[in-house]
């Protein structure tokens, strides 16, 4: 039989009030409160505040939702449906003219004058050029990551980040500056412990100020996942790993680079 703990922290008390404390500590906190009436009273007051808050604002949940809010979702939904329908029509027309099979809902980027036009192609070329390099894969190594990121950010005129891809098995090798279509491009290289490489291509000169969804393109033997957020276009490329695995890696980068 152990003595009740006497080192109960303020954080423990708060967590106790919220039911966030692990089971194993609850009895200790309860014992502490039994012998510390001031704390007990305080925690009780916190609980009451939470209850009062819930009951004060509960009525909002039962109010009818104003029509203008419902309309916001419906209107946006219609716009989205119209956009997809538009892509399908353009795609069908292209398919008819060229006699191609339509591979997906969305026709190729170039065909629609899309915000991401040329992005996967250029990213794939950069990947194919630099990823086989043994001695000079990057200009600035990951040992100087902070410098690398601030240098590339300055050149591109936007705050960049090198995503952490350890969770999917890739560590940063470093990066370099590349010439793009209309200006500088940032190129980050990652490597797994078996030596396969993935590159992240970032440009800040996408003409139409429009975001796109996550997309895939196969360029020669390089797989590319890419997307555009406002003016910034991102592409994650590899020629060494399966498309499915690359999707994992690209997703990890995407989540970090485009927080909601």
């Amino acid at each position: 039989m152990s003595e009740p703990r006497s080192d109960i922290s303020e954080a423990d008390l708060q967590a106790y009030a919220d039911g966030e404390l692990p089971e194993s500590l609850r009895a200790d906190v309860a014992a502490w409160l039994a012998s510390h009436p001031e704390d007990a009273e305080r925690i009780e007051a916190y609980r009451r505040i939470a209850e009062d808050l819930r009951s004060t604002y509960h009525s909002v949940l039962e109010e009818p939702v104003p029509e203008r809010l419902r309309r916001t979702v419906r209107r946006a939904g219609t716009r989205r449906a119209a956009m997809i329908a538009g892509w399908m029509i353009v795609g069908a027309a292209l398919g008819a003219i060229a006699g191609w099979q339509i591979h997906s809902l969305q026709p190729s980027a170039a065909a629609t004058g899309d915000a991401a036009a040329g992005l996967p192609r250029r990213a794939a070329v950069a990947h194919a050029t630099y990823s086989p390099e043994v001695r000079h894969p990057v200009e600035v190594g990951a040992d100087q990551e902070a410098h690398l990121v601030s240098w590339l950010s300055k050149r591109l005129g936007t705050q960049l980040r090198a995503p952490k891809l350890e969770s999917v098995g890739y560590t940063l090798v470093g990066g370099r500056l590349l010439p793009g279509e209309n200006g500088p491009v940032a190129h980050f290289m990652y490597q797994c412990n078996r030596g396969t490489r993935v590159t992240l291509y970032v440009r800040n000169d996408v003409a139409s100020n429009r975001s796109t969804a996550f997309r895939y393109s196969r360029e020669g033997n390089v797989d590319v996942f890419y997307w555009v957020d406002s003016k910034v276009g991102y592409a994650v490329s590899s020629g060494d790993i399966s498309k499915d695995y690359l999707l994992n890696v690209a997703n990890a980068a995407y989540q970090q680079l485009n927080p909601p």
């Binding site: 505040i49 808050l53 949940l61 946006a76």
Partner: protein
């Protein structure tokens, strides 16, 4: 569309949180509307299968921070101060018993944490993810918010208390 329906289903919770966050109904619903619009525009960034509610609250938090920044550059707390001080000068009992007003007296970042924990009943970890702050910060803000609110509800001298805590 599936996500549209889920968004509509979450509107009452967004409204409840917004009401507690900003006080009056019209401003709260404006905040909800901006949130829904932004959520739609950014829906491609939402990862299917993850917690849509938490994601929406993150969107709302970002929208709110931007709105506050755009509309009033000064801190909310600073703005509330003169009114409270004035009450004191009038020899009022200086009691703030109304919960609504009590919440309004909290600094915005503490208010957000307290409301997510109590109204939305989010875990500390969910709050940390929603607001993009470390879990330790969630706990310290929560602790300060509660203590301040408790003092306010008990009618302790507000202005003096605020200065101490700040």
């Amino acid at each position: 569309m599936n996500e549209a329906q889920r968004l509509v289903d979450l509107i009452p919770r967004l409204r409840r949180y917004a009401r507690a966050l900003v006080g009056d109904r019209a401003t709260a619903d404006d905040l909800v509307q901006d949130t829904l619009e932004r959520a739609w525009a950014k829906l491609h960034l939402y990862r299917r299968g993850t917690d849509l509610r938490a994601w929406l609250f993150t969107v709302m938090h970002n929208v709110h921070v931007n709105r506050v920044r755009a509309s009033r550059p000064t801190d909310t707390l600073e703005e509330e101060m003169p009114e409270l001080a004035q009450r004191a000068a009038q020899g009022d009992a200086l009691l703030v018993r109304d919960l609504d007003r009590g919440i309004a007296c909290l600094p915005p970042e503490q208010r957000a944490v307290l409301l997510l924990v109590t109204l939305e009943e989010m875990s500390y970890e969910q709050v940390a993810r929603t607001l993009g702050i470390p879990i330790g910060t969630v706990m310290s803000r929560l602790s300060r918010a509660r203590e301040k609110l408790r003092a306010l509800m008990q009618g302790q001298p507000v202005a003096a208390k605020l200065k101490v805590v700040k």
